[in-house]
Symmetry: C2
């Protein structure tokens, strides 16, 4: 297949591009390098030393990888160039990662809220409009989020995108119907993904586009077999309060001797997936596109759920790290349960990489190797969800200097 | 109250501004005059000769009306000016009409789709972000559309925004819940309004904003008591294939001797409201704001439903006009039923102006008075919803020259 990977320089996009190229697909990376620009804005850099994209591509080629091309292009801003690219390449599939993907970043200020909305919604809509205008019959696979479901529904397993309901009329009439799971986003970022769903539903209905929406859990891990082939292929590792994700943050914090930053009581239950499974899931989704005229195919791209404080305790137990309960910057339930269906990917052959699969220590090893690059002042999450929180005490832990590195993380049972 | 009317120069915005000013409110009109710019793009002008906004405001003042101010501002593009305006005026309420509001215009081309998405979503989000950033405790009343509901649900009355459902779990668990009515928009324009709903739900939940969303039916009529006070206060009257709405179009077509353009079989059932009721509904909504912390208040702003072909037959019967069934440019069900709840506005005291209230002839009178301004070539709807339709025969009726004006429309029983 010829595949465009929009956002192919990012945390999920880069290993996905490599994985697809390794499978023999012809990959064109499309990216505006916005994630690298945001590093400079936040003065918070990947813990791992990520090479420039040109170096990444050259090294991959030098190591015998199928050559990948790169088009520097802002999907949200340069519609005409995007359209010309589609008309020229006529891809079989488009993988769409080209959105601002951090909830805390989306809540930092009005400007960040507005950037996230403007960028994410226009990016998604431009892709859809360009597919229709070009007449290219490309399958679009989009990275959604488990966050569209909110905290789920008391005692009910979250299905894959669609929910069977009985509508109850005023007169007691009941109609059975499958509806898009009622959206309940927890941040501006998550909100844009719920709005993306409405774009997809409309374009699938009106124009018969073939679309897959992958509602992904929180990604952990760093490397895939391809990014491990050379240090210059290494994937990014975010540990800062905006872009770092919870389990990677805990493992990094343990590695550098920083107390584990549990927000509130840590009672939040979240869905997780390892980056190695992310790339496999995208592969499986591309190999199993919906039919033309079919509704949007929605898959839950996650392999397990965990309560945040349980993760912190697990990491603390195996590393000797301490746990620090810091004020929760988010506006969310203190405690929630979460049970999620992922039968579709299991049915397609996904073999989940779970937390007990020995990869926790790999993350800590990576964090320890690059600990000298860490800026601990970037660890606290300084974004707040509401004006009330913003007016309160500063969020985060005061740490004067790094404590000595603890023992290595051991494989957990 | 001090009220900002965003989009206060438009078809609904102008009479609403006058009505609110007439009630003694302090009105500030905010508009980028985009509707007037689109007239030039389409070379399709209001049948009625609308005065420049400066003239409108001067005449209103000269006639003894409470002075209204005007701020020329692009809500979707000039966030900083919008924020400064909110901080300066500290309004009690904001009425938000500042969106591209024609479904056919939103489907004309990729550019029109993209303009509608970019303009409407950024406009709505900018207003919300500015209310939060300014800390102004303003009630936001937004003009939504009945189109968020799609064609409704077989045999079930459409409720006001929220739908009681029973969720059915995999294991048979049932949970009763009220959800936002599942969106099923019929055009890019309507889609943006379903996405607006998600903005509102989020900002009401996260920031406690007080928001009312008015899901309006198709507006008919032209004038209100205020716009009738002087010809230079006259409201706009759109009859073209993009911006004209169905009943006004039929009445205008009858007045100028053009066959009534029924799309397809005319089996579509739609909700309607007279412009006089639009302005009263906005007043009632502003007088009854939700509490802080309350969910978004959603009201159906419509007074009756009619099947399109019944309207055409009614107009034909009373005027002698002929009916022409032209290909339907829309991608929609050929026939649908529609029953809609509007108990909330009735409960607030709305006395509906229905089709049998003698105002049909007023519309035809207006159309006949300005028939010399009509460009009949602008009547057909040339937008098409899909590439398949676009590739087909041209849409619309060929008319070589206007036929003589028919008899006046009589009051219908």
């Amino acid at each position: 297949m010829r595949i465009l990977v929009l956002g192919g320089d990012g945390f999920c996009g880069w290993p996905t591009s490599l994985h697809l190229a390794d499978l023999g697909h012809e990959v064109v990376i499309v990216d505006n390098l916005s994630r690298r620009a945001i590093e400079h804005e936040l003065e918070a850099y990947s813990l791992t030393p990520i090479a420039p994209l040109g170096t990444r591509l050259r090294v991959w080629h030098d190591l015998g990888g199928a050559p990948m091309r790169f088009e520097r292009l802002d999907v949200a801003r340069e519609y005409e160039r995007l359209l010309a690219l589609l008309e020229r390449e006529r891809p079989d599939a488009i993988v769409h990662f080209a959105e601002q993907r951090a909830a805390p970043y989306s809540m930092k200020s009005s400007r960040h809220k507005r950037y996230t909305v403007d960028n994410n919604l226009n990016a998604t809509h431009n892709v859809l409009a360009a597919v229709v205008e070009s007449g290219v019959d490309a399958h679009l696979a989009h990275l959604g989020t488990m966050g569209v479901y909110g905290y789920g529904t008391a005692g009910m397993k979250i299905p894959e995108g669609y929910l069977p309901v009985e509508l109850v009329g005023e007169d007691g009439t009941r109609v059975r119907q499958e509806i898009l799971y009622p959206a309940n986003p927890g941040s501006i970022y998550h909100m844009t993904k719920t709005q993306d769903q409405l774009f997809f539903a409309y374009y699938a209905k009106n124009d018969g586009l073939r679309i897959t929406d992958l509602h992904q859990g929180i990604v952990w891990g760093t490397n895939t077999p391809q990014t491990l082939r050379d240090e210059r292929l290494i994937n990014r590792f975010d540990y800062d309060g905006d872009y770092g994700t919870v389990l990677n943050r805990f493992l990094m914090q343990a590695a550098v001797g920083y107390p584990l930053t549990v927000h509130g009581s840590g009672g939040q239950t979240r869905a997780f997936i390892h980056i190695r499974d992310t790339v496999r899931c995208v592969q499986l989704a591309l190999e199993n596109p919906p039919e033309r005229g079919e509704r949007v195919r929605i898959l839950n791209q996650m392999t397990e759920t965990h309560r945040v404080r349980d993760l912190a305790e697990m990491v603390a137990r195996s590393t000797g790290a301490t746990v620090a309960n810091v004020p929760n910057p988010r506006n969310e339930a203190a405690e929630n349960d979460l049970e999620v269906a992922n039968d579709l990917f299991i049915g397609l052959g996904l073999e989940p990489t779970t937390l007990d699969a020995g990869l926790l220590s790999e993350v800590t090893d990576v964090a320890r190797r690059y600990a000298h690059r860490a800026d601990l002042s970037k660890i606290p999450c300084t974004s707040t969800w509401t004006r009330r929180q913003a007016a309160g005490a500063p969020v985060g832990v005061e740490v004067s200097e790094p404590t000595p590195a603890p023992e290595p993380v051991r494989r957990t049972a």
